[in-house]
Amino acid sequence: MTMRTRTYFYFLRQSLISLTRNGLMSLASIGTMVVSLVILGMFVMTIASLGNLVSALESKVEVVAFLKDSTTPTEVVKLQKIIGDLPGVKEVEFVSKETAFHQLKEKMGNKSKVLEAVKTNPLPSSFEVKAKDPLFVSKLANKLITFKQVEEVKYGKGVVEKLFALTRVLRIVGVVLTVLLTLATIYIIVNTIRLTVFARRKEIRIMKLVGATDWFIRWPFVIEGIILGLVGALLSVLVLRESYVFVIDKLQNQLPFLPLDNNLASVADLSYWLLLVGIVIGAVGSSISLHKFLQD
C-alpha cells in the first residue's frame, strides 16, 4: 500500500472509530439533522403540492360559449376555425347538445335517474375555449360574445382574478419561506457539527502540537461530517416518503376532487436534493467549525 492510500484508510478508520466512540454526539447530530431536514422537506412538498394544485386549477379556467340552437353544423365548423385562430387561444373543443347531456348524466352519478323524466334535451351546444394563459380569459370572453351565433359566454368572472392574486402571493410566500427555512436548517446543522468538533478540541490541539498538518486534521472530520450528513438525509428521506404516501392516501379519500399528484417522482427529486444538501452541509459544516480550532 502506498503512503497516500494508507493515509486515506487511516482517515476512514478514524472517522468511523470516532463516530462510534462519540456515539451519543453522533446520534444527537443525526437526530437534529433528520428533524430539520424532515421539516424542510415537508414544507417544500406542501408548497410544491399547493403549486401543482394551483396550476391544475388554473388550467381548468376556460371560457364556455353557449350557442344558439339555430346554429347549423357548417357554422359550427367555421366558427371553431375562427375561434381557434384568435390570439391567446390554446384549444377549442365543440361540445354538442348530446355530449353535454351525457356529461351531465355522468356527473350526477346515481342521481341521474332524475334526467329520465326530461323528454327533450334542454342543454345548448357550446365551445369550450382554453386560453394559453389564464390572464387572457376575460379578453377572450369579451371577444366571443360578439359572434352572432353565441347566445351566452361564461367564465369564472371575479373568481379567476381572485385566484390569480392568491396564487401569485402563495408562490412568492412559498419561495421566501423555503429560502428562510433552508438557511435555518443549514444553521442548525452546522451548529450541531460545531458542537461535535468542540467536544474534541483537545484532540485537535494535541494533533497540532505533535506537528499534524491542517489537512491531516481536517479530513477525518470532513469524512465524519459527510457520513453524518448522508445518514441524516437518508433517514429524513425515508420518513418523508412514508409520510407522503400516508398523507396523500388520506387526502384522496377525504377530498377525491382535488387533483393531487400521488406519484413518487416528486419525492424522489426532493430526495436527491436532500441527500446532496445533507452531504454538502456535513462536509462544509465540519470544515467551517474546524477552522477556528486550526487557527491557534
Binding site: 483537545k202 490541539r205 494535541i206 494533533m207 505533535v210 506537528g211 499534524a212 491542517d214 491531516f216
Partner: protein, 228 residues
C-alpha cells in the same frame, strides 16, 4: 538550536509580556526557565511552540527564522520539538500505547515503524507493562511519563516542558526530572519552565530567570534564588 534576538511580545490588550529578550541555547543543553507567575515564562514558551507570534525581533529554531515561516510550514517545524505540559494533555479514550502512537500516526509514519518506536519509548520511560492501560488508571507521575514518551517518540532534537512537575508530589517530580536528564544525555536539548525550587537547586543546570518580561539572570550552574 534556539536563538532569540531582541524579541518583544506585546499583546493586543497592550500588556508587554516580553521586552527585548536575547538568548542563545545550544544543542544538547538543559535549561531551566524560572520566574514568578506573570513574568513572561508562558509567553516565552508559547513563542517557541509557535502558538504566539512575537511583536518584534527574530527567533531562530533549528536554523529556521520562524517569523518568516509560512503557516503550512509550521507543522513540520513542530515535528522537531516535543512538548510536555503540566496537565499531561493525554487523550483519555485512548490507551497508553495509542496515545504515544497518535503522535506518529498524524505525521504519517508507517505502522511497523510506529510499533517499533512505541515499544522502545515505553521501555525508556519504564511503562512497558502499561501499554494497554487507559490513562485514567494511571498515577499522575505515570501519566506524565506517557506524555513525555509521546513528546520524544519522534526523536525531536528539542524538548520543551512547561511546568512538567507542577501537578506532582516531590518524589515523583524527581523521578520525572531524572527521566528528563536521561533524555538530555541522549543529546536532546531540553527547555523546562518550572516553579520547582528543589529540582532547580539540586540539578545544577543552566538557569534563565525572567522577571517583568526581561531576562534578569542567566547562569551556567544556577539556582532558583528568589522568593515566590
Amino acid at each position: 538550536m534556539i536563538e532569540m534576538q531582541n524579541v518583544s511580545k506585546i499583546y493586543n490588550n497592550g500588556v508587554v509580556a516580553l521586552s527585548k529578550v536575547n538568548i542563545k541555547i545550544g544543542k544538547g543543553e538543559f535549561v531551566f526557565v524560572v520566574g514568578p507567575s506573570g513574568a513572561g515564562k508562558s509567553t516565552f514558551i508559547k513563542l517557541m511552540l509557535l502558538q504566539e507570534n512575537q511583536t518584534k525581533g527574530t527567533i531562530i529554531i533549528n536554523g529556521k527564522i520562524i517569523n518568516k515561516l509560512k503557516s503550512r510550514e509550521i507543522p513540520y517545524l513542530r515535528r522537531t520539538m516535543g512538548v510536555v505540559f503540566q496537565d499531561f494533555k493525554l487523550l483519555l479514550n485512548k490507551t497508553v500505547a495509542e496515545n504515544i502512537a497518535f503522535a506518529l500516526e498524524v505525521i504519517e509514519t508507517p505502522p511497523k515503524e510506529i510499533r517499533r518506536r512505541v515499544l522502545n519509548v515505553l521501555d525508556l520511560v519504564g511503562l512497558q507493562d502499561k501499554a494497554r492501560v487507559l490513562p485514567t488508571e494511571l498515577s499522575g507521575g505515570e501519566q506524565q511519563r506517557v506524555a513525555i514518551a509521546r513528546a520524544i517518540v519522534n526523536n525531536p532534537p528539542l524538548l520543551i516542558a512547561d511546568e512538567p512537575t507542577g501537578n506532582l508530589d516531590p518524589d515523583t517530580s524527581w523521578e520525572i526530572m531524572e527521566l528528563f536528564t536521561r533524555i538530555n544525555t541522549r543529546g536532546t536539548t531540553i527547555l523546562m519552565a518550572t516553579h520547582d525550587r528543589d529540582i532547580v537547586n539540586r540539578s545544577k543546570k543552566r538557569v534563565v530567570a525572567i522577571e517583568s518580561g526581561q531576562i534578569v539572570r542567566d547562569e551556567k550552574r544556577g539556582v532558583y534564588d528568589y522568593a515566590d
